[in-house]
């Protein structure tokens, strides 16, 4: 058993594992989605096995506290990364002003097989948002106003945006640059009850020129919508995207008919009546969950402290006693005795200062 561990602990295998990991990283370079995760998992698992064996059997690691902490933390990072991959969640969300978060509405959802967070307990209500733009359409600060439970049965306002996410039950909601407008419409079918819905327009101002969408009512012809917005958008000067200040004319195109509706106006179409009630906005979020992130931070900082400690002890031990004396004695091509080097290599103290 011990001999197997010793064989597995060979530093030569470490070199092989590191080379494999380098190959895996090169393959994943800039395009991890298109490459099998195994190009990274196999070398990492191999290195983890190699390193565990080395930590157990190699006194050069386990007798030196700093190195032991450092290498153990490397192992910890690989383990945490593995746990993270099994339990993570990654998704997008597009939520309308006034809507309550609904876990079912997540888009592009990807989650580890062991993901088991309390997503359905997450509660917040999306409010309005503003985004600053500087001249040249360069995006500045985003402020998204949310209502979150205050813990006493009521709600309180929280502003999120850019690098300040909403964090609930470990789920982190980051505003994304995907955000836009949604006209609220009421569709009343002939002989039916009115239904309220929203027409989700493409992200704005990214698709400023293409604010269009289409919808086919249950009984009726396809309706093409086009939203002509007035937001104060400007290429040359600073402006603020604020849904509350924006206005929009909804152009409705169905069959032979094409009408322009102001909020509050109605049009009769084949199969029913469409009322453009008002204009609202939607906000896009990236949703992220990984229970390991704080541990990863802690373990990696600990590892660096271990390596620094190792370095410190090694330097203070070697500088005077080891390296210099050894190297001064060593027959190099450029002898370093004081007479020849003219005193440049003054004393071991020069080195200790390092």
């Amino acid at each position: 058993m011990v001999s197997v561990l010793r064989a597995l602990a060979s530093v030569r295998l470490t070199v092989v594992g590191m080379l494999l990991l380098a190959c895996g990283s090169v393959l994943s370079y800039g395009n991890p989605e298109a490459v099998s995760i195994w190009v990274l998992v196999v070398p990492l698992a191999f290195l983890a096995l190699n390193l565990s064996s080395a930590i157990i059997t190699n006194p050069r690691i386990h007798r030196r506290k700093g190195l032991l902490v450092f290498h153990s933390s490397l192992l910890g990072i690989v383990l945490l990364a593995a746990i993270g991959r099994l339990t993570y969640l990654d998704a997008h969300l597009e939520i309308i002003n006034g809507a309550t978060f609904d876990a079912q509405s997540l888009l592009d959802l990807k989650a580890g097989p062991l993901h088991s967070g309390r997503l359905s307990d997450v509660e917040f209500i999306q409010g309005r948002y503003t985004v600053d733009y500087r001249p040249g359409m360069s995006r500045g600060a985003t402020r998204s106003y949310l209502q979150v439970p205050d813990g006493e049965g009521g709600w309180r306002e929280q502003v999120v945006g850019d690098d300040t996410p909403l964090v609930v039950n470990g789920y982190r909601f980051y505003t994304s640059f995907h955000k836009g407008f949604s006209p609220i419409v009421v569709w009343t079918p002939n002989n039916g009850q009115p239904e309220v819905g929203t027409i989700h327009m493409p992200p704005y101002p990214l698709f400023d020129y293409r604010q269009a969408n289409r919808w086919t009512p249950p009984q009726g012809e396809e309706i093409k919508f086009w939203l002509r917005l007035n937001t104060g958008i400007s290429q040359d000067s600073a402006w603020v995207l604020d849904g509350q200040r924006a206005t929009g004319v909804l152009v409705v195109d169905s069959g032979e008919q094409r009408v322009e509706l102001q909020p509050g106006e109605t049009v009769v179409l084949s199969g029913g009546e469409l009322r453009y009630q008002s204009l609202t906005t939607w906000m896009g979020y990236k949703v992220f969950y990984d229970p390991t992130i704080h541990w990863l931070f802690f373990v990696s900082v600990l590892g660096v402290l271990g390596l620094s400690y190792h370095y410190w002890t090694k330097v203070s031990m070697n500088s005077v006693a080891g390296v210099n004396r050894r190297s001064l004695d060593e027959p190099g091509q450029n002898p370093t005795d004081r007479s020849r080097n003219g005193g440049a290599f003054r004393s071991a103290q020069d080195v200790v200062k390092l």
Binding site: Y29, D162, D290, G332, A344, L354
Partner: protein
Amino acid sequence: MNELVSELPWLWAGLVAYAVATVMAVYAVAQPDHDGALVVNKFRPFELPVLGLVAVGVLLLSVALAERWMRIGHGPFVNLFELLVSQLFSLGLIYALVYWRVPVLRPTAAVVLPIIWVLGLWVLMIEPTDSLFPPTYHNNWLWVHIGFGKVFLSFCLVGAGLAGIILLRRIERMKAWFSMMPSDAVLDNFAWRFMVLALIFDSLMLIAGAVWAQDAWGRFWAWDALETSAFLNWLAIALGIHVRFSYRIPRAVGAAVVVAVFVLAFFTYFGTPFFSEAAHKGVV
């Protein structure tokens, strides 16, 4: 003076100071090391002037950076021009500190300063265009990330300076240039010591970068081009360290590995962010 380029005179003055220091350092090592029968340390008389010139260069560059900062309202973190000027400043500063504290390494100036000057030449070819500060850059971790990164690159540079001497000594004409320096064995030891220091700061840079990325893009690591390049850099140092103690590699090969790690770091800093279209790219 055109207000748009008010930092340029300071930048040029700083580069001139670095250039004079570079010429002086190379001149110093290229002299013969015999004065009659007496062997002299030919670098000694130049030690202080070189340090002084680098210090003056650092000071002038810091004025250039401050001037630009006040003019455009944010730090030198976004476009290639800013990155180069800020690295010229920090490489000069950290190298000057190492030079001052570790006298035995001083003749490495003849290798290190010309490398710094590559950045100097590059920056002269670039338009000092104003940059726009992305919203995700208003984050304290950005400072931590960049600060550690600067120390990392500087220690890599010192390592490359030492390794450069080991390699230059193989060239017949330059054999005597660094006669005042210790043997290859000592230089090799020093170089790898700096690489371990570089690894420590590289690790800190990666950690701070991951925290920032989590805040800025909602993920701490995504194997984007810059992250992958930085990780390969970290791995290359670890690989070098392990190869060095588990195989008896010739010193010149070890030195070439140190130089290769520096080149990779150089590419990671000044190449990847501007080639890749990733979110990490200078302007988001």
